[in-house]
């Protein structure tokens, strides 16, 4: 058991209040000035099944859900047996450690016992003293949990009051129930050797869906149109719940095809608009994505991956959509793909996406995944200072206006409807500089070539302006571990573990999968081994790196629906290094 961090898991069925209990614990740690990382293991079911919520906290940065399990709150027998079983089958999650504690109601009997500390608490009994609501027992268990790791009760009381609408009767009932659980544990059970160094630091506890919404708002988003689909919905919910504060039009239309066409229509009209979905919905958007490329209408699409193919595992994470996003829509056109590595990265890359879309007048796809979109982690600070750059916009009455003028950089002036003197047609057919169609009466092969070149050279400037590809402990690294998107936390922690074991490894972190920064070629050259880590079966980034940079690589994958756990990942990488 590590003594400078804690891993707590709440297990139960959907409808048992697992997630709310987990969030109360996470918030309490956040307010104690600790770094927090959470993990929500749930199923596509509203009631029943089995789900759990894990909270990891420390004064040091916690970049993943972590290994180990110190405190288990088991809300039913299944959860108790599942998370204490040494051969737990939860995609890499650890069973309860020998010196940890399992907290559960004493009414749970006849369960499979292991050599562990079982803390049978009168959870229901205490709860019933304070309320008729059966879920109150969760609050009692949270109180006991805080006592088990020696956390001061008052911070928890504050969070509970906030959670249950402050002064009301329900809030006080919950505080009292939690206090009794706290005192009962303290009087009867052991305190774990964990000592968390709390601080006065004020961190934000955020999910990637929320920072996506915030980043978009920071960039001047005016319209979000999307059809509900896990895990893209967390962004939709955040924006919808703030639509009036932010002056953002939020709409669920009849389907994703409508959603993307609406977002394109709004951008055409001069308003920053975005659509979002998971892979299934994005598949429906594919035709319109190419239209935005052809018509040079700026567009930001949020693609939040979940485990496929098809409906797949709706509540599980994966990075299986890279090929889809890179190849979506017929013909050649330019697109920019961004893949934020963590909750904070989502904020900065999303807002940048809007500037890139308008600057280069082409689709920008922000690729996330269920892990990034739905888990909460503490963010130290968000810099809200941002300059909106709308790119080339024509002034009324511009002389000899050509919407698609062949320019040096391939980018021409946009004119919004309502602008005097600049009426024109924007067309999904191939067109000339004015926007007149050249596909019907006369096809001019020379002009076609010019138009293709115009659109395709647009990103030359972007490639030149790309920031260096981020790295971790890379300067003296002999081995490169390459990750992209949301696996950053586990990969960095795996690198730390491997470094402790004496392996000179470092991580190369790709958060801009397309176009790829040419510096990656240099960064990879001369390494003894290149290990690519991906949450998918075929190694989609791995193939991309091989073809782009002609490098020899090794591949480590995980496609069980769960994100990587640092310990297990370190072992897998080590095996590759020794191969």
């Amino acid at each position: 058991m590590k003594t400078d961090e804690v891993v707590i898991r709440v297990g139960g069925a959907a409808g048992d209040g697992v997630q709310s209990a987990g969030l109360i614990i996470a918030k309490t740690f956040t307010r104690l000035g600790l770094h927090v990382n959470t993990y929500n293991y749930y199923q596509s079911i509203i009631r029943g099944g089995q789900s759990w919520y894990q909270i990891r906290a420390s004064d040091k940065k916690v970049r993943s859900q972590g290994d180990g399990l110190d405190v288990l709150i088991a809300l039913n027998k299944d959860a108790l047996e599942r998370h204490t079983n040494p051969s737990i089958n939860e995609g890499g999650a650890s069973p309860l450690t020998k010196d940890g504690v399992a907290i559960f109601d004493k009414g749970l009997t006849n369960f499979q016992k292991y050599d562990l500390d079982y803390v049978e608490m009168p959870l229901n009994e205490i709860a019933s003293k304070h309320s008729k609501n059966a879920l109150m027992k969760n609050t009692v268990a949270i109180g006991a949990t805080m006592a088990s790791i020696g956390i001061d009760f008052e911070t928890l009381a504050g969070v509970i009051r906030d959670q249950f609408g402050n002064k009301g009767e329900v809030a006080e009932q919950n505080v009292n129930a939690a206090r009794e659980g706290y005192e009962h544990y303290k009087a009867n059970f052991k305190k774990l050797p964990i000592k968390l160094k709390t601080s006065n630091k004020r961190y934000y506890l955020m999910s990637g869906g929320e920072t996506l919404g915030l980043g978009a708002v920071n960039a001047g988003l005016k319209m979000y149109v999307g059809y509900p689909m896990t895990p893209a919905s967390s962004a939709l919910h955040y924006l919808a719940s703030h639509q009036k504060d932010f002056g953002i039009f939020v709409k669920i239309p009849e389907d994703e095809i409508s959603a993307i066409n609406m977002a394109i229509g709004a951008n055409f009209a001069g308003v920053r608009a975005m659509t979002g979905s998971s892979g299934g919905g994005f598949s429906l958007m594919v035709e319109a994505l190419g239209m935005a490329g052809m018509m040079e209408v700026p567009l930001v699409v949020y693609e939040s991956q979940r485990a496929g193919p098809s409906t797949g595992l709706p509540t599980k994470t994966e990075q299986g959509d890279l090929n889809l996003v890179l190849g979506a829509s017929q013909g050649d056109f330019q697109r920019i793909v961004l893949a934020p590595r963590n909750v904070e990265d989502v904020f900065y890359l999303t807002r940048e996406a809007f500037n890139l879309a308008e600057k280069y007048q082409t689709p920008v796809i922000v690729m996330s995944d269920l892990y990034v979109a739905e888990h909460y982690e503490t963010v130290e600070n968000l810099d809200l200072d941002f300059k909106i750059d709308r790119g080339k916009i024509a002034e009324p009455g511009m002389k000899d206006y050509k919407r698609y003028e062949y320019t040096k950089d391939g980018i021409s002036y946009r004119a919004f409807p309502g602008t005097a003197g600049l009426t024109h047609n924007e067309d999904s057919d191939e067109h000339n500089e004015y926007g007149d169609v050249v596909s019907d009466a006369v096809t001019d092969p020379t002009l076609r070539v010019e138009s293709m070149k115009k659109r395709m050279k647009k990103l030359d400037a972007y490639i030149k302006s790309m920031p260096p590809t981020p790295t971790y402990r890379y300067e003296d690294a002999e081995y490169a571990v390459v990750q992209w998107g949301g696996t950053q936390g586990s990969v960095e922690e795996a690198v730390d573990i491997l470094r402790e074991r004496g392996h000179k490894v470092g991580a190369l972190e790709i958060n801009r999968p397309h176009p790829l920064n040419p510096d990656i070629g240099k960064l990879l050259s001369g390494k003894k081994k290149i290990v690519v880590v991906e949450n998918n079966y075929t190694g989609q980034m791995n193939k991309l790196l091989r073809s782009e940079f002609l490098v020899k690589t090794e591949l480590v994958t995980k496609y069980d629906g769960e994100s990587f756990y640092p310990g297990a990942l370190a072992d897998e990488i080590e095996a590759v290094l020794k191969r």
């Binding site: 956040t30 307010r31 961190y203 934000y204 506890l205 955020m206 915030l214 708002v217 960039a219 005016k222 319209m223 149109v225 639509q243 009036k244 504060d245 932010f246 002056g247 953002i248 039009f249 939020v250 239309p253 009849e254 389907d255 095809i257 409508s258 959603a259 066409n261 609406m262 394109i264 229509g265 709004a266 055409f268 009209a269 001069g270 308003v271 920053r272 608009a273 319109a288 239209m291 018509m295 968000l382 809200l384 909106i388 919004f416 409807p417 309502g418 602008t419 005097a420 003197g421 600049l422 009426t423 024109h424 047609n425 924007e426 067309d427 999904s428 007149d436 169609v437 019907d440 009466a441």
Partner: protein, 281 residues
């Protein structure tokens, strides 16, 4: 003063001589001019098909997009900037096959746009296959033994979906067509106009003569849903044209909490401050 000449596009239409789309191009141009709407404030979104090429041939802001998808584009343009007059224009294949769900839901939302369908009861640009409004028994390239699917009725669909303005017109009666379009544009909410537009090349049944013999202009109470529904079902020896239904109802943009009375394009981006982050502490 705005005149029809202001709407004249620099590209000559490439439709077949005699195509019903010509009358609609001039009726739309004329209607916009008559209403004093400047080309800069007019937008036409279209899909893919012969009729959908129209934005290329008219002087305004055109958006020639994807087959079946003109209504979502039109809706969003209106939401972004309600000062614009937004018209969706396309064919029967475009609107009633791939675009059906958009048609139904845009009508239901009562978005303040005008949707004009050039209904020739055939696929023209793809050289003559059966469309959703092709008559029963008609032989086409895709139905060499005769069409066995009953045609759908766009008017009853629009009425059922909740459209607040439902009309029918005929390219062979250009003046009437223009007047119907004017009423549609002036209507606050979703206005739907199905226009009989003979395809002189691929539809030898529903010709100008066919409609000239049948169309009539009923004197009806356009506030009466049941009357409108009943007229919409008339097909055979007599087919009614004109405005069949025209009622007032709150449009989507006047009911939305964010854009009611405002234009998204005029709302400045919100300046995020630390206060906005307080909920995450």
């Amino acid at each position: 003063m705005v005149t029809i000449a202001d709407y004249k596009g620099k590209v000559k239409p490439d439709w077949c001589p005699g195509c019903g789309n010509f009358a609609q191009l001039s009726a739309i141009s004329g209607a916009l001019a008559d209403l004093g709407i400047e080309p800069k404030d007019s937008v036409i979104t279209s899909g893919i098909g012969c009729s959908s090429n129209l934005p290329e041939f008219i002087n305004l802001y055109g958006f020639h997009g994807l087959h079946g998808r003109l209504l979502p584009v039109a809706s969003a343009i209106k939401w972004a900037n309600p000062k614009l007059t937004v018209i969706g224009y396309g064919g029967d294949g475009d609107g009633f096959f791939e675009g059906t769900q958009h048609f139904y839901h845009t009508a239901k939302r009562n978005v303040d746009i005008t949707y004009i369908v050039s209904d020739n009861q055939i696929f023209g640009l793809t050289t003559g296959q059966a469309s959703p409004t092709t008559e029963l028994g008609m032989k086409t390239k895709s139905t060499p033994d005769g069409n066995i699917e009953k045609p759908l009725n766009p008017l009853t669909i629009a009425l059922t979906a909740g459209a607040t303005f439902v009309a029918r017109a005929f390219s062979g009666d250009a003046l009437h067509l223009k007047e119907v379009i004017k009423k549609g544009i002036q209507h606050k909410g979703f206005s739907f106009i199905d226009v009989f537009s003979p395809c002189v090349t691929y539809n030898k049944i529903n010709t100008y003569d066919y409609f000239r013999k049948r169309v009539y202009k009923p004197d009806t109470d356009t506030k009466d849903f049941n009357k409108a529904y009943s007229l919409a079902q008339e097909w055979g020896e007599k087919i009614p044209i004109g405005v069949l239904y025209d009622v007032e109802g709150p449009s989507y943009e006047t009911s939305d909490p964010v854009i009611a009375g405002k234009a998204l394009i005029d709302i400045p981006p919100v300046k995020l401050t630390k206060e906005h982050l307080a909920e995450f502490l």
